[in-house]
Amino acid sequence: MRLMVELGTAVGIVWRCLNGFNHDAFRRRHLWDLAQFHSLNTIQYLSYVDDSDVRACIQRNYESYQQLVLPVSNLLPTAVIMADCNDANVIVATDTYQVEAVGPLRITGLIDFSDAVDTWSCNEIAITMAYGLLSSYGRQHRYKALAGILVGYSRIRRLDDLELQCLPILIVIRLSMSVMIGAYSLSKDPSNEYLKLHSVPAREAIQFMCAFNIDAHTRFFQQIQNRLSAPATVVADATIDDEMLYDDSIYNALVNQIYGTMLHRS
């Protein structure tokens, strides 16, 4: 959980450093840009996904993207973002660089900025949360992975209401890209195991996200940000300190509150 919070903080720090930065090279067409997903030949790529349930989830989410995100896209803040914060691009180490170092793991670096693009600012956290779901922690603790990354990020940059509404859709868009482009590439190179690295777990993550409606996810994210992210946030009349960010009971209570009836139903 601590690494998830640190991960969100790391991309928040990058956002803060790049605030106001621009360069014409980043205003480019880019296959993996969430803001350009509608330019992707979705029908063609989708045909390579062999799981009909996953295909249906991707299709439904794409309709939400068209209906709820694109019409308000001009209102979303933009920035140059790294746009590829997946587990292979995060350097994790202990505090020392000794060969057999011991101690808690920390996030010490981010690498691979070659997908950097000028796009909606919230895409950075959407991408990070999407890949967070694919991490070993995220596969076991879906909600806490999402919450931890969001908490870390929004302690530096708070998302506005519109961004929070778009966030669940954008997370699934990134997962969809991974599944679709991965399936397409695998069809061209069936023996390439690397292509399965993200696309296979992404299918499960898509199904998790699509098991609940967008509004539920948005409410969860709003609650996380409002109750845990702001400096000097107060929950139940107690000032949040860092240790409370890792208190399972807070997240469990929010999950039950937001998803409770749906969880029982599923």
Partner: protein, 132 residues
């Protein structure tokens, strides 16, 4: 040399053992980014590299925590961002063919001044298999 996937560029987080000063444990960590040499030489990627260089410089200038991001290193104090790579012959691709690739160096551990001295020792670098 690690296997280079042909479909994409790849990041290589590697450790370079430098025993020149007699300290056996004196090893440093670097990030090496390998590009397809043809891609590296296109006009479009040159502009992107320029933007990338400015982007990483900006982060490194502004950052106030110990979080690290790579820095594009200028060879021989050159300001030409398109020249900070060296060509390596016979790199193994995923289809088992071999190809010349451009290796771009990013300074990873801050403050190490002798990075380019190590270029001449490239063959002696111990590229560990710790790409995650």
């Amino acid at each position: 040399m690690q296997r280079i996937e042909s479909y994409d560029d790849a990041n290589f987080y590697c450790e370079a053992v430098d025993t020149r000063d007699g300290h056996d444990q004196q090893y440093r960590s670097y990030l090496i980014k390998c590009y397809n040499a043809v891609e590296t030489c296109t006009e479009g990627s040159s502009n992107l590299l320029h933007g990338l260089g400015l982007m990483l410089s900006r982060i490194n200038e502004k950052i106030t925590t110990d979080l690290q991001v790579p820095t594009i290193v200028m060879p021989h104090n050159s300001n030409d961002l398109s020249s900070n790579y060296m060509l390596m012959d016979d790199c193994l691709l995923s289809d088992d063919s071999r190809q010349q690739v451009a290796v771009r160096l990013f300074k990873w551990i801050q403050g190490y001044e002798a990075l380019f001295d190590c270029l001449s020792l490239m063959d002696g670098w111990l590229l560990t298999n710790n790409l995650r």
